[in-house]
């Protein structure tokens, strides 16, 4: 699912508002469900990728409304965030991208986000993710942060072999393996600037990576060729899930607070070891992933909507509102419910009921 999109969704340049996607056909099932309103923050790097755009398209097909916001091309009015009435903001982040700021702003004013900004902040920089995972007791290799490749010389020889990778890397790019300090002489790192690096102890493994994709509680395992073992033939495909992989994947989700995520693990003699964590991965080779992720986003947004509704009704029924008219919170069923409750309360007070 990481291949370039053949039919990219429309983006407008030099605009000041998100682009509303046009609604397509609506399925019968979607008509029975409440209509939801989403804002997809699409970082420039992903505007031609299938993910997350296929999710936006699917939600649209199901009759929901989706706006696309490209942070690098859009002026976002922060004063209007709550007025927009979005049920949720959805972000597939890129390290250093501006999307996270908007997501944080939305979250700060009480709009649900997928994933939440804290989780995204923890995983999008591999330095933070690695330190946090280690501190939480997750099985991760011993890792060093280095601001420049010349500092590799200072890493103790006992920690070799090393895997060197950029802190803001993605898609297995810019990963190098050093068997011993002698390899430093021939190391030529081609990395984007500005860029820092992680040097991780290489753990002996089966020679292929296992990508664990998680949607809520559901875990899928996909075998993947390792960039460090080009000699091992692996066709990327769904494979049977080991129970320890499922447990590890769910634990990562609980610790980082992620809803939709992926982790790269390698199988070692001591069990699975986590080498990378991503929010909103491609879900390549996961059957039905687009519908499953879309359904999950709808569930989160709906639960948040219900929570808001309950909270608003609770506020309206509090005694301090007794001498005030019902609060006005915009159109829709929430004010109606409040008004009904307030009406009943007034009827009780006046004795007409």
């Amino acid at each position: 699912m990481s291949e370039p999109r053949k039919d990219p969704l429309r983006f407008a340049h030099s605009i000041s508002h998100p682009v509303r996607l046009c609604r397509c056909t609506t399925s019968r099932a979607a008509k029975a469900a409440p209509r939801m309103y989403f804002c997809f923050i699409v970082e420039e790097q992903y505007r031609h990728d299938s993910m997350p755009m296929v999710i936006a398209e699917r939600l649209l097909q199901w009759g929901h409304t989706v706006d696309l916001l490209e942070p690098s091309e859009t002026v976002t009015c922060l004063s209007d965030l709550t007025r927009k009435g979005y049920d949720a903001y959805v972000l597939k982040t890129v390290a250093g991208g501006p999307g996270l700021s908007i997501l944080q702003a939305a979250e700060a004013v009480g709009i649900p986000t997928i994933n939440n900004s804290r989780s995204i902040s923890l995983v999008r920089d591999k330095t933070i993710a690695s330190a946090f995972a280690h501190a939480q007791g997750l099985p991760v290799p011993r890792t060093y942060f280095i601001a420049h490749p010349r500092l590799l010389r200072k890493i103790p020889e006992k920690d070799y072999p090393l895997v060197v990778k950029p802190t803001n890397g993605s898609s297995c790019r810019g990963i190098y393996r050093l068997s011993s300090p002698a390899d430093l002489a021939k190391l030529e790192i081609a990395a984007p600037h500005p860029c820092f690096f992680l040097a991780q102890h290489y753990v002996e493994n089966a020679g292929y990576d296992i990508k664990l994709y998680v949607i809520g509680k559901d875990v899928y395992s996909v075998a993947r060729k390792s960039p460090l073992h080009p000699e091992v033939e692996v066709e990327e495909q769904l494979i049977p899930l080991r129970s320890e992989w499922r447990k590890l994947a769910r634990r990562v989700g609980e610790i980082f607070g992620l809803d939709i995520y992926g982790l790269d693990v390698v199988e070692t003699s001591n069990g699975p070891v986590v080498v990378d964590i991503n929010d909103f991965p491609s879900f390549g080779h996961v059957p039905g992933a687009v519908s499953h992720v879309s359904n999950y986003i709808l569930q989160i947004a709906e639960q948040a909507r219900l929570k808001r509704r309950k909270a608003t009704i609770k506020i309206a029924l509090q005694p301090q509102f007794s001498d005030h008219p019902a609060p006005v919170l915009g159109g829709g069923p929430i004010p109606e419910a409040i008004a009904r409750c307030v009406r009943r309360r007034d009827e009780w007070k006046s004795g007409s009921r």
């Binding site: 099932a29 049977p240 359904n295």
Partner: protein, 139 residues
């Protein structure tokens, strides 16, 4: 217990073989990459269980079940599929398949369907169907 694995992808066969043989009680006696090969190897090696992808080249998995079951009715045939679907399940069952399992199923489930360890409570059901959930139910 002797097993035969049939899947077009070599790395998938290798992974499943590794998993099955790690139990110590199961032995993979053959690997086939297409439908013709699995039928031939089933007759030659007489396995107890055949684990077979439904989507095989040359001769599809459904036709392969029919031929294996016709020649060796006592051999247990387990169909593996990337996608769940009532049509596939019914077709496989009609031709004599003993079980139908998704390729992404848990290993414990695979082992119990094969007949190793505790029986599986139920076969894994594919998640992520094609329709928007009726969220009114939550309301």
């Amino acid at each position: 217990m002797r097993l035969l694995i049939a899947d077009a992808v070599h790395s998938y066969r290798r992974f499943v073989k590794q998993v099955l043989e790690s139990t110590g009680d199961l032995k993979v006696v053959g690997e086939a990459a297409d439908g013709e090969e699995v039928v031939r190897l089933a007759q030659q090696s007489k396995p107890d269980v055949v684990l077979m992808d439904i989507d095989l080249p040359d001769l599809d998995g459904l036709e392969a079940i029919r031929r294996i079951k016709a020649a060796q009715p006592g051999t247990k045939v387990i169909m593996l599929s990337l996608l769940d679907g009532e049509t596939y399940r019914k077709a496989a069952a009609k031709l004599g398949a003993d079980a139908f399992l998704l390729k992404g199923a848990e290993i414990s489930e695979l082992l119990s369907v094969v007949g190793w360890g505790r029986p599986a409570p139920r076969h894994r059901v594919c998640k992520g169907g094609g329709v928007c959930p009726n969220l009114a139910k939550i309301l």
